[in-house]
Amino acid sequence: MSYSKYILQVKDLSLDFGSESTKTLHDISFDLRKGEILGLIGNSGCGKTMTALSVSRLLPKDARLTSGSIVFDGKELMDHTEKDMRELRGKDIAMIFQEPYTALDPLKTVFKNLEEVLTEHEVLTKDERRSRILNMLKRVGFDEAEDILGRYPHELSGGQRQRVLIAGACLLKPKLMIADEPTSSLDTITSMSILELIKSLCAEFMMSVLFISHDLSIVGGFCDRVLVIEKGRIVDSGNAFDLLYNPKNPYTAGLLSDSRLDPKSLDLKFNKPSFSSECSLRVKGLSAGYESTHGFRKKKKDIIHDISFKILNGESVGLIGSSGCGKTTLTRAICGLLKPTSGTITDTKGKLGVVFQDPVMCLNPAHTIRWHLNEPLKANKIKLTKEELNKTIRESLEAVGLEKDILGRYPSQLSGGQRQRIAIAMCLMINPNLIIADEPLSALDTTSGARILKLLAKINTERNTSILLISHNLRVIRAATSYVIVMDQGRIVEDGPTLNVLSNPQSEITKKLLLAETTLHRNPDKGQFMTE
């Protein structure tokens, strides 16, 4: 076996699902050097996952590799039997996946979950296995690895589970790691630390990484080279620096601008309220939480503590915090769904509209759009004549930019963006003083998201409606709010005018969020490319 600088060479790989029309991959060719991190980027359904699964031969049952060759570490994998492949998997080719929450067997402890890697590929005593796993857990950043060993997966956070999976993947020091969107379901700060970890392990073990992602902007600081895939073909490739600074290919350029939410190009204008104007919402010393039953006793545990802030008429306020900081509890308390333990909420005019994160769940699938628009009026016992009703409905629809023919349809017949607009139109029916928008963009694609943001801006300026925008995306907050509140662990840790807070953060959490944001989306350094 001659020495090769490549660990993996894929040539003219084609794949279909039984017939020519289902062809998913067209003549994919690429090389992966030893110790290199190669990004495989594309939208969902472009074939990037299929490419990766072809390498480890974990394809769905009906998929067929019709042509091509895959040379891994000098051996042609296309000639390998399933048994040969099983020996490679876990030992030389390791994989980690997108969803760490379900990737571990829920009935077994971390130790049992990881142990199978070793029992499958090596002959070791139990103590040896234990110490190897302990060492690896320490390496991936668990200070109390002993404690983690005996835990069950549901007792770990998403980031911890992904670390456990990475530890499992690296136990046998594989030559290649395939990482399929390993950070997509994690929050910004955790994502950043996971990527850093993979990168350091890669250098330590001289491991190559095939990194699959849909987000072109995060691979910049992480990958050495990038391949862009569209509809089963490689449309662009090059080192990360060139691709991100000088996207020559129009498809790559499009992907890039989609993933960077640029506030300027959106042309957003929000109200600048004067400080003398009235409040549309005033929260004072608010604490609230949930009741839980322990055996026979009931305990009330506060999630948010001593929250005070106000929203002026026509003001647009942002609320930032990572997951679990109490954002949802605060919203529920403001909406009256949760009885506060202490404190007051003064909602001066009493009219409130809410837009939720998930456009699939925000409308009732059993009723038409007309029914939905009518419901807020019925609930508030507002009686209108037929003409007035039609007029209000028309105005609301116009405001959100939808046509009248949508009224007879059911939610399932609308797109995510359209549903989110209907949710906003429902708020508008009662002409609220305040709209609370809870992560309204995060479930939408970039284009629809930008439109919703514009729509909120329009309502804010034209109707002088206050907006409370809850988001973990700093770019959204920067673009759409004039004042910002930062929450951490149920308390307000910082507030002030948006630009001040984001340019000169005082609290730890804001600093962390900002750092993660910039690190994740950092631009690649030219010198980073691996040379031998």
């Binding site: 909406c335 009256g336 769904l337 409130l352 809410v354 939720f356 994160q357 998930d358 769940m361 925000c362 409308l363 009732n364 699938p365 059993a366 009723h367 419901e375 807020p376 019925k378 609930a379 508030n380 949710a423 429902m426």
Partner: protein, 266 residues
Amino acid sequence: MRNKKISPYYIVGGILFSIIVIACILGLLGVGPDPEKTSASSKLLAPSASHLMGTDNMGRDLFARVLAASKYTLFISFAGVSVALVLGTVAGMLAGYFGGIWDRMIMLLGNSIMCFPGILLALVAVSVSGPSLFNVIWALGLVFAPTFARVYRTEVIKIKGRDYILHAKILGVNPIRIMAVHIFPNAFAQIIPAIVIGLANMTLSESAMSYLGLGVQPPKASYGKILSDAQSYITAAPWLVIFPSLMLVIYILGLYFISEGIRGDK
């Protein structure tokens, strides 16, 4: 409508089900000889042109009796499921929506009813209150209600947490309207397969009860009663067992396939 192939389950189930419906209609119209007329001269005759399914030990025409029986079977299964559905809907919605003590009490009662194996409770209730069509229906309805209540409860708990219900609560819609207008239509869609299966199980139970002599009372015909009468003549006149069994299986299988079809559509 999307261009989708109709599931073969629907077709087979529909055909089987319609056989029973046709039999029921014929039974209602009183086609053929009187199912309750005995005749000393024509006992235990094998199937022939004049007696399509033969005759029983009392000389009654089996075909006519089977038609009459399908009438009662269909009626009892639908009426019993309706009783169970009404009770189950109310209990399940209350338990699921309000939770807490309501939930605990209703589920405890439901679980207690479900602890009586099979149709034991219905058997006792009917034997104590006297076998009659009405008693059979309410007893079976009561026994089947917890099943529906459970399905409803699970659905309501699932739906309750969705954003559109939160939204309705924020708007200030009152709980009864939320349950009736916002939750019920969505939950009901999930109940339909359970209803069809309920019809099949109801038929199974009803036939078992009438087999034990606690269902529809003679001289009225029912599948279970025909079969228990036939048992003594099982080797001499096997048609007495075969035809009613076949009809019973056709009905249950038809319902079962239809429910499979509905499930497959989801």
